[in-house]
């Protein structure tokens, strides 16, 4: 957390402090475009750490720098206490990486994807075979061992990618949008596997633009927008700091929301106008609804719910996470 941490090149120090990733004023530019504009991050051993942000926030650019495949433009980055500019191979030997876009080899079958990848880490053939079998079991893909990758469903490919990233038994697993494009059931299967890995002591770093995923998985997260970190904390801390306990959602006729917002503004701490509804931030949603009706307003539909990270994001950036 201090500057000394960032400057220490040795793994021993990282092990002692439990700091898996340290970034200080980390930046990434593509030509004249700056995708990551100076972020500070500390990931501790054993936690699930999240980057929550919309498309284009710079999450993948950050993940590729952490994966030691994309050179840092400026700032400091230490992974497992090492500098990716000089110790890339040693860092990558101890990482597992699930990139946003699958890089499975379509020309190899499922089990060969694991075996061949294990060989890149210098793991001997017998161990590779053993681990490949274990990991197929873990990923529920044992009966697909000889199948072609092309024939797998999206969820299966994702599970195979995660299985592949575990072949070297990494201490730190990077998952870039692990469940994007998957149906709800496949997402739950994946979340379950990630919980098991966390239980096994693996440190997980996850990016997502799904607030429910961030809330489910992350011990701690940063809200990222336009290359910057807008806030940091546990999901509960973030909600407590940037939102109210409850939200009353009011749906009126099309085009009425802007006008009605003024009439309910005093009912909550804050009111947000969305195209299709009003959000009244309050600690007592039912009370707000009662008062709305007392004032003679007749919403078409109402809902009281707990605040979520979506509300935190809306508060911090004025925009929705998923557009």
């Amino acid at each position: 957390m201090t500057d000394a941490t960032a400057h220490d090149p040795g793994t021993a120090h990282a092990l002692a402090t439990g700091s898996m990733i340290t970034a200080r004023d980390l930046r990434k530019s593509f030509g004249t475009f700056e995708a990551v504009k100076g972020i500070d991050v500390d990931v501790r051993r054993g936690e699930v750490f999240g980057f929550l942000g919309p498309n284009g926030a710079g999450k993948s650019s950050t993940m590729r720098m952490i994966a030691a495949v994309s050179p840092v433009t400026s700032g400091e980055l230490r992974i497992l206490g090492m500098d990716p500019a000089t110790d890339g191979p040693s860092i990558r030997a101890r990482l597992g990486v699930c990139p946003q876009e699958d890089t499975l080899d379509n020309e190899l079958n499922v089990v060969d994807n694991l075996f061949i990848y294990g060989r890149y880490f210098g793991i001997d053939r017998a161990t590779c075979r053993e681990r490949a079998a274990e990991l197929l079991e873990f990923a529920n893909l044992t009966d697909k061992a000889k199948a072609k990758v092309e024939d797998l469903s999206g969820g299966m490919k994702r599970r195979l990618t995660i299985a592949r990233s575990l072949i070297n038994r990494p201490e730190l697993l990077l998952l870039d949008e692990p469940t994007t494009g998957l149906d709800p059931q496949a997402r739950h299967v994946l979340w379950d596997q990630l919980f098991r890995l966390k239980q096994a002591g693996v440190t997980l770093v996850v990016t997502t633009h799904y607030m429910d995923e961030a809330e489910q998985l992350c011990d701690r997260l940063v809200v990222m927008d336009k290359g910057l970190i807008a806030a940091e904390g546990s999901p509960r801390e973030l909600i407590a700091a940037h939102s109210t306990r409850e939200v009353a959602e009011l749906r009126f006729g099309v085009g009425e929301h802007e006008a009605i917002a003024d009439k309910v503004a005093d009912l909550g701490e804050r009111v947000e106008v969305l195209p299709d509804r009003l959000l009244v931030y309050t600690d007592d949603g039912e009370h707000v609804l009662a008062q709305v009706h007392e004032r003679g307003l007749t919403p078409v539909a109402t809902l009281v719910r707990r605040s979520s990270l979506e509300d935190v994001f809306l508060r911090l950036t004025g925009r929705s996470l998923v557009d």
């Binding site: 040693s90 080899d105 210098g122 038994r169 890995l197």
Partner: protein
């Protein structure tokens, strides 16, 4: 190389966690290649059938068509064939060298772009301890094996036709054509890492490979081109390969010229190798 790490802190599974990666820095060149051997062996098993046709059968048809059939029509004074006793003996070295070039280019155009764009194999490899250098090296070793096996068969099959002046000539020529293959493999690898899409390969073939094959002295003596053009032809990299291969096969070795030929081919290979590594590094580091 085994690490002393027991994997205890990862708490899942037994045994060393990270294979035999060094604690710091990158892998040795040999380590980098050994780790990819199984990948390339699998790739070979998948494609060898097609490879047999293009590597072995096609060039023999060439020899038959151009050397025997076409050569039968050509009645030239052996004095004008750079020391060859027949047209067949003249073009065999040129065909072998050209074949080495063609194979090498075939293995470093679409396959390299595939590794970057279509199959993304290189991205998967780069996420491991392997570096761009290791990836280039292993790919080039595979090309070398392809070129070497195809050219060895080519030379062996032609031996009974009396086109070689000595037994050791074609043995030395074998190493030269492998070097020709590597010179083109490295440079074309470098080009492929810098191309955004495959349409540009058409230009590589039309403006590079075809004219180079024609004006390299493979099919007719460059002296036929006249003074000026024959000097230009000698600037063509393939000419150095063809010329050296022919001098070895026909036992007409000219020391200083041979030294120049070898130097040019080695220089191209080394420069191309570095250029290919730099190209892949940049391309994959977005």
């Amino acid at each position: 190389m085994a690490t002393t790490d027991t994997g205890a802190h990862t708490a899942y599974g037994e045994g060393p966690a990270y294979g035999d990666s060094p604690a710091y820095g990158r892998l040795s060149i040999a380590q980098g290649m050994v780790r990819q051997a199984d990948y390339w062996w699998t790739a070979y098993k998948r494609t060898w059938r097609g490879g047999v046709i293009s590597s072995f059968v096609a060039p023999l048809f060439y020899v038959l068509a151009m050397g025997v059939l076409l050569g039968g029509f050509i009645d030239v004074d052996p004095a004008r064939l750079e020391g060859a006793t027949s047209y067949l003996a003249f073009i065999v070295p040129g065909l072998v060298a050209t074949h080495a070039m063609t194979l090498a280019i075939g293995e470093t155009t679409y396959p390299v772009m595939g590794g970057i764009k279509w199959h993304k194999t290189y991205y998967a490899q780069l996420a491991t301890p392997l570096t761009a250098r290791d990836i280039v090296n292993a790919h080039l070793m595979f090309v070398l094996a392809r070129v070497a096996s195809a050219c060895a068969v080519f030379l062996l099959v032609l031996a009974p036709f009396g086109v070689f002046a000595t037994w050791w000539g074609p043995v030395a020529a074998f190493f030269v054509v492998v070097l020709v293959g590597m010179a083109f493999a490295t440079v074309v690898f470098g080009i492929s890492t810098r191309l955004r899409d495959e349409a540009a390969f058409g230009l590589v073939f039309r403006l590079g490979v075809v004219p180079m094959s024609l004006f390299s002295g493979a099919f007719f003596p460059v002296a036929n081109l006249g003074d000026v053009l024959s000097k230009v032809a000698q600037a063509v990299p393939l000419w150095h390969g063809v010329n050296l291969t022919r001098m070895l096969c026909l036992d007409t070795l000219d020391g200083p010229v041979a030294l120049l030929n070898v130097t040019v081919l080695v220089a191209i290979t080394v420069a191309g190798w570095l250029w290919a590594i730099q190209g892949l590094e940049r391309r994959l580091s977005d």
